[in-house]
């Protein structure tokens, strides 16, 4: 087969994928019945559709759920992280004082022994 007509490839592809206007569809169907060259191109396009469909990879369900959880959780997680950081920055020095007192007492107690 010599190089196929570009229009024929597009027409055949459009017929298979349902992308033709009514007029184009009529033309494609007429060519199917009357033009062996178009019929050959249509056969090749159908074979390509079948072969290339094997490349379609579905997203694994576990991955799908994980990504969706991240998507819906990411907004609130960022907010929680921001609030937590602010609270810790403000509160941590105050929280550290009682710890320091306990440490001081234990050191003093050890020295007195």
């Amino acid at each position: 087969m010599s190089a196929p007509k570009e229009d024929y490839s597009e027409l055949a592809w459009g017929l298979i994928y349902g992308k033709l206007s009514d007029g184009e569809r009529q033309l494609a169907l007429r060519l199917t019945a009357t033009d062996p060259e178009f019929l050959e191109v249509l056969r090749l396009e159908l074979a390509l559709q079948k072969e290339l469909a094997r490349l379609k990879a579905a997203m694994p369900e576990a991955v799908k759920q994980r990504v969706y959880s991240s998507l819906t959780g990411s907004g609130s997680r960022v907010l929680v992280q921001e609030v937590l950081r602010t609270v810790l920055e403000e509160a941590l020095p105050q929280m550290l004082w009682p710890v320091m007192k306990i440490l001081e007492r234990s050191v003093l107690a050890s020295e007195q022994l």
Binding site: M1, A3, E6, A53, A57, A58, R66, V67, Y68, L71
Partner: protein, 151 residues
């Protein structure tokens, strides 16, 4: 259409496209997430787009291109044959390996997603005429491959 509906309808298509283009499944997962996060921010634009699927795949494509520009040069990420479980896909992979990367992407869009030239042009930010001519070259090659396989 909200994020949940968009994700439910097109997560497979976005994942499938990125998995076709990249080897690293963790990266694919990250880019799917980035794609939908970006889509969420641009949900108000959705009403003006011709095809939501093509719009999402355009975002995914751009995210991937951005990542590949920034990646360390020794990271082997680009497609060298799809990691598809179906062993009969190997025959198709052999034929696709002979095509340029852009032609492979166009073939994927045309035959796996059923995109029109217009949708592919929008997705890849290319003139429609360029997509057409690349598709024609790829078809010529794939027809020859099919016919040789039949002999």
């Amino acid at each position: 259409m909200d994020l949940a509906a968009l994700y439910s309808a097109y997560a497979d298509a976005v994942y499938g496209y990125l998995a076709f283009k990249l080897q690293d499944r963790q990266l694919v997962e990250d880019l799917v997430q980035e794609t939908f996060l970006a889509a969420q921010e641009g949900l108000d634009r959705l009403e003006t787009v011709h095809s939501p699927k093509a719009w999402l795949l355009a975002i995914a494509h751009n995210k991937m291109v951005d990542f590949l520009r920034r990646r360390p040069p020794d990271l082997p990420l680009i497609w060298e044959g799809a990691a598809v479980g179906d062993s009969s896909a190997l025959f198709v992979e052999e034929a696709l390996k002979q095509l340029a990367d852009l032609e492979r992407t166009i073939v994927y869009g045309l035959y796996v997603e059923g995109f029109t030239y217009r949708e592919l042009a929008e997705m890849l930010s290319l003139p429609e005429g360029t997509v057409k001519s690349k598709a024609h070259n790829a078809r010529r090659h794939l027809y020859r491959w099919l016919q040789e396989g039949e002999r």
